[in-house]
């Protein structure tokens, strides 16, 4: 304990911090990214351009960013959590007002040369903000009914904005990430029971409203659900993506067609093959062996992330770490389920493998926070953090 205490008090030097990093986790993350490069190279029919090279550059930049974030004291992130959340929320609103419509939805905002997807930023921002909220909360009050209202609001507002874009997938991801934080923070199980009942009611309302003038979802969203439930409904239209994806994926068999040889993806039968459907290409080229390998690597990242979280001595760090892990899990699970026809096509990328700047940046930023929490796992938080005034109930 003495040594731990010493760590907490005497600020460690930068090399010490680097040494302390959870390197197995970093290696696993890099491995996933490397698989991504290989797949981007493959879908471009054995070319670095247009995707693989840019993906590598983005990873290199984001990776450095991750290390920088990891080196910054976790208390700084704790302090700026609400600010981060506020900025992300503002950007979401901005997207609503002045966003670029892409793929049938308002998702991007252009700031100079940067093309930003605020909904991606919000995934991490929400995790951090909720972690801060529960960290600052008096544990006695954590079971108080009223204390669940602010986090619910913090989740509902961005989720509603994202639904309006419309991006149902990201909204579900945000909401589930937020609720998991609440769960880990120790909110009463009764709350979750009530929530489940509420969700059931909402689902019922959604389906009941179909075709009414108060329809809760857009027709294409209903279509996606209907086609998800029965893809054969429309093999040339809405079900086409899923059907083609399943055909290409299933045709991989045990060991696949071989790298750079996936004929379905090669011949353009696959839509979005470099982004959302990259896993199908992997399935076609490497078969079950390749798919299970990637799944294991992902679960490995998750496992290392969680073990790291359990060793963190402050609630903020633990919640951030678990939140990042949960977000990461939600990404790959939803994407895989989607391309294998288990979930509707909702536009969630395969983390670190799909081509895409914002999601890579956000995921590595998240892992940066996780690592920061790990490196600074034993720091003592001030009694009142600088931005804690937003909620009066204080720790201690």
């Amino acid at each position: 304990m003495a040594s731990l205490h010493a760590h907490a008090t005497a600020a460690p030097t930068l090399p010490q911090k680097l040494l302390r990093l959870n390197w197995p986790l970093v290696v696993l993350i890099t491995l996933v990214a490397a698989i991504g490069f290989a797949m981007q190279y493959s879908v471009a029919e054995g070319n670095l351009d247009p995707w693989a090279r840019r993906q590598m550059i983005r990873f290199a930049v984001s990776f450095c960013g991750m290390l920088v974030v990891a080196m910054i004291d976790i208390r700084f992130w704790h302090g700026s959590a609400y600010l981060f959340y506020g900025v992300s929320l503002a950007l979401l609103v901005a997207v609503e007002v002045a966003g670029t419509v892409g793929m049938g939805a308002q998702r991007w905002i252009e700031i100079g040369p940067l093309r930003l997807q605020p909904s991606e930023l919000m995934k991490i921002a929400l995790v951090v903000a909720l972690a801060r909220y529960f960290h600052d909360l008096n544990p006695r009050n954590v079971r108080h009914v009223l204390t669940v209202l602010p986090p619910l609001l913090m989740i509902a507002v961005p989720a509603a904005l994202v639904v309006k874009q419309p991006d149902l997938g990201t909204a579900v991801l945000l909401a589930s990430g937020g609720i998991v934080i609440m769960f880990l923070a120790g909110v009463s199980l009764w709350f979750f029971a009530a929530l489940a009942a509420g969700m059931g009611g909402l689902v019922y309302a959604v389906f009941a409203s179909r075709g009414q003038d108060w329809a809760l979802l857009k027709p294409y969203q209903y279509n996606r659900i209907a086609v998800f439930l029965n893809p054969e409904l429309d093999p040339r239209g809405a079900g086409y993506h899923i059907t083609q994806s399943k055909i290409a994926f299933g045709s991989g068999g045990m060991t696949g067609e071989g790298y750079l040889k996936g004929p379905q993806s090669r011949l353009d039968f696959l839509p979005e093959k470099h982004t959302d459907f990259i896993f199908t290409v992997l399935g076609e080229e490497f078969g079950l062996v390749g798919c299970v390998f990637l799944l294991c690597v992902y679960v490995g990242v998750l496992l290392f992330g969680m073990l790291t979280a359990l060793r963190i001595r402050h609630l903020f760090g633990r919640l951030v770490a678990m939140g990042v892990c949960m977000t990461f899990f939600a990404y790959f699970a939803i994407n895989m389920a989607m391309v294998m026809g288990l979930a509707p096509v909702v536009g969630v990328p395969l983390p670190l493998v799909s081509y895409g700047g914002t999601s890579m940046l956000v995921i590595l930023f998240g892992f940066g926070l996780l690592l920061s929490a790990q490196v600074h796992g034993a720091v003592a938080f001030p009694r009142l953090s600088p931005f804690a005034l937003l909620w009066p109930i204080r720790r201690g």
Binding site: L184, F249, P263, D268, M336
Partner: protein, 638 residues
């Protein structure tokens, strides 16, 4: 009152750890579920999806087989494949069909009506199947389409084959023609249906092209082409060439066929020449002819209407489907029936006073005043109607019909032509079934001179003559002599059960018809020993001669409108002493058999026996000169 810091942290951590474990367990379960799904898709259903993947990227396409050629007996091409430059459209490759057609129209004119029909066809055809937009293009047009291919999305220039008939009008009825398969053709073809729908694929609609369709068509090949989602071919994975259709050599002697067609001139009718032993049809002329190439390239409306509505019916193959009362050419069969049944031997004689009474009816001989005493030989030679009325009455219709069928009268010849007719040899059962009336004895008398209900085709008359000439064997006509260079064996002949001696008696009578004084076809005799012709004239009445007309005098043919004149018939075989060929000639509404049909038969028999030049003295002095064929190389004017 705050809890001690340590215990609070402990509490926090234990709740967190428990819940984190629950969460991780849930995530692990979900990940395992994903793994199970992978296993299900890739292993359990892997083969199914692999097959579907194969299907969606590999397009098997049929390769049209090359149609077999048809040549005449001496090897002259009658039906060949010539190059066909055509342009097809694949709808799935065309962004905008209308615009593509607009652009194509700048190179190849597409009239509005044609355009409308094309758009309909394009709409009907499945997107990845081609639709022929234009065919038989000139090379210049084809090259221009090729050069502009990048601007013509969905258009593919193709080199195909088109059927060509070099001998055009001379062999139209025999060779027939091909045309695009109809929906019914496709349905009937079963497994071969898809082949028939290939662009440029044609199916035989008439003649040998139709009879031998399965053999001529050949077997389609298969090409498996890997295509991308847009239908663009990437590469050919496999190519199995089809099998070319059989090449056929017909029994038709083209020179003789041309000669017969020309010899008929403007007359409407038919000439059939047949080998009496192997059944080879050497000529099967039906006039007027038509050019089958018109069906391949398309008729203009005007030409088509003219052809379809012509009084002399050029599209009708009169040699196999024209039905005429055989008239006196049937008398040999009546005589044979009488002898066969033991009713009247060669010595049986009848006195002809110009008519015979039966009940209240009077049946006239063609010769007013009568022939006097007639026996079988004279009766045949002079074609005495009364003699045959007499013996037919004794035979009775049913027994006459039975013998007639042995000679192929009223029986469908085995030539396979879809339009071949079986004619009509009436009997009591037929009349009861068809007309629900009893048979009148007087009708037997009409049948005895080949009139009344009786109908037969020129081909049947040739078969009848051949069976007499060969001594009573069941020869059948055939048109195909060789298949892919392999000779087809002639059917072995079987006797039809008629006594040879009876046949010889009839043959002597037929010799008399042409070669003896008093014979009805004496003027058409061949005077060269060893080449003589034996035959029988016939004149088939088309209208009924009324009692009133008989008293005022029967109208001459010249006085009647064309379509009420008598049909002129003649059947013959040669050489008389050692026969080899049988011929039948029918000239529709031509007048008398002796004056019109017999000279044609004589000329054809001379051409047969002296293909290059008829020697002096082959015909007697004073006879009509032998017709000399024009040498026009075959195509026009036929």
């Amino acid at each position: 009152m705050p809890l001690p810091p340590k215990s609070r942290t402990e509490h926090d951590r234990s709740v967190f750890s428990r819940r984190a474990l629950v969460l991780f367990g849930a995530q692990g379960a979900l990940a395992a579920g994903l793994g199970a799904r992978m296993y299900h898709l890739q292993i359990v259903e892997g083969a199914h999806y692999a097959a579907r993947a194969e299907r969606s990227r590999i397009r098997p396409s049929l390769l049209a087989p090359v149609r077999g050629h048809i040549v005449s007996r001496d090897g002259t091409p009658l039906a060949v494949n010539s190059h066909n430059y055509r342009v097809v459209l694949y709808r799935e490759d065309a962004d905008d069909v209308e615009r593509t057609l607009d652009r194509l129209a700048e190179i190849i004119p597409i009239p509005p009506l044609r355009r409308k029909a094309l758009l309909e066809e394009i709409g009907r055809t499945r997107a990845f199947l081609p639709v022929v937009l234009a065919e038989n293009l000139k090379w210049e047009q084809f090259a221009e389409v090729n050069a502009n291919a990048p601007a013509l999305a969905g258009i593919a220039p193709e080199l195909g084959f088109t059927r060509h008939y070099p001998e055009a009008g001379y062999t139209g009825h025999i060779v027939g023609y091909v045309a695009a398969a109809s929906e019914r053709d496709v349905a009937r073809a079963g497994d071969d249906g898809p082949v028939l729908k290939l662009p440029g694929m044609r199916i035989g609609k008439m003649g040998v092209e139709r009879v031998e369709e399965p053999a001529l068509r050949g077997k389609a090949g298969l090409s498996r082409i890997e295509k991308d989602v847009h239908g663009r071919p990437i590469r050919e994975l496999e190519r199995r060439e089809g099998t070319k259709g059989d090449d056929l050599r017909l029994t038709i002697d083209l020179d003789l066929q041309k000669y017969a067609m020309q010899r008929m001139g403007d007359e409407s009718g038919a000439v059939v020449v047949m080998d009496i032993y192997d059944g080879d049809i050497l000529a099967l002329a039906s006039t007027p002819g038509f050019d089958p190439n018109g069906f391949v390239l398309g008729w203009s409306t005007k030409d088509w209407v003219a052809l379809r509505d012509a009084e002399k019916r050029p599209l009708h193959n009169k040699a196999v489907s024209g039905l005429y009362p055989p008239g006196s050419t049937f008398k040999m069969v009546v005589a044979l029936a009488a002898m066969h049944l033991g009713i009247a031997g060669p010595g049986h004689s009848v006195f002809c006073n110009g008519h015979i009474e039966l009940g209240s009816h009077r049946f006239h001989c063609w010769k007013r005043g009568g022939h006097g005493m007639m026996d079988l030989h004279e009766g045949l030679k002079q074609s005495c109607d009364v003699y045959y009325y007499d013996i037919a009455k004794r035979i009775g219709i049913d027994r006459l019909a039975e013998v007639a069928r042995k000679f192929g009268i009223g029986v469908l010849p085995e030539i396979g032509f879809i339009d071949a007719k079986e004619g009509l040899m009436p009997d009591k059962a037929w009349k009861r079934a068809r007309r629900d009336e009893p048979w009148h004895p007087g009708e037997t008398l009409h049948a005895g001179i080949g009139q009344g209900y009786m109908l037969s085709s020129p081909l049947q008359l040739a078969v009848m003559t051949a069976r007499i000439a060969n001594g009573g064997y069941d020869v059948q006509p055939r048109l195909v002599r060789e298949r892919n260079g392999e000779r087809i064996k002639a059917r072995s002949l079987r006797g039809i059960g008629i006594d040879r001696a009876h046949i010889e008696a009839v043959k002597r009578g037929m010799y008399g018809v042409v070669n003896e004084r008093g014979g009805t076809a004496l003027r058409s005799r061949i005077a060269m020993a060893g080449h003589e012709m034996s035959g029988k004239t016939g004149t088939a009445q088309v209208r009924r001669i009324t009692m009133a007309e008989r008293t005022t005098g029967v109208l001459k043919n010249d006085e009647l409108p064309w379509n009420q004149r008598d049909h002129a018939l003649f059947v013959a075989y040669a050489p008389a002493d050692d026969p080899r060929y049988a011929v039948s000639v029918v000239v529709e509404h031509g007048g008398g058999g002796s004056s019109v049909a017999a000279p044609i038969a004589r000329d054809v028999m001379l051409k047969l026996q002296f293909p290059t030049e008829v020697p002096d003295g082959a015909i007697p002095n004073g006879a009509a000169p032998v017709f000399v064929a024009r040498d026009d190389d075959g195509s026009e004017d036929a």
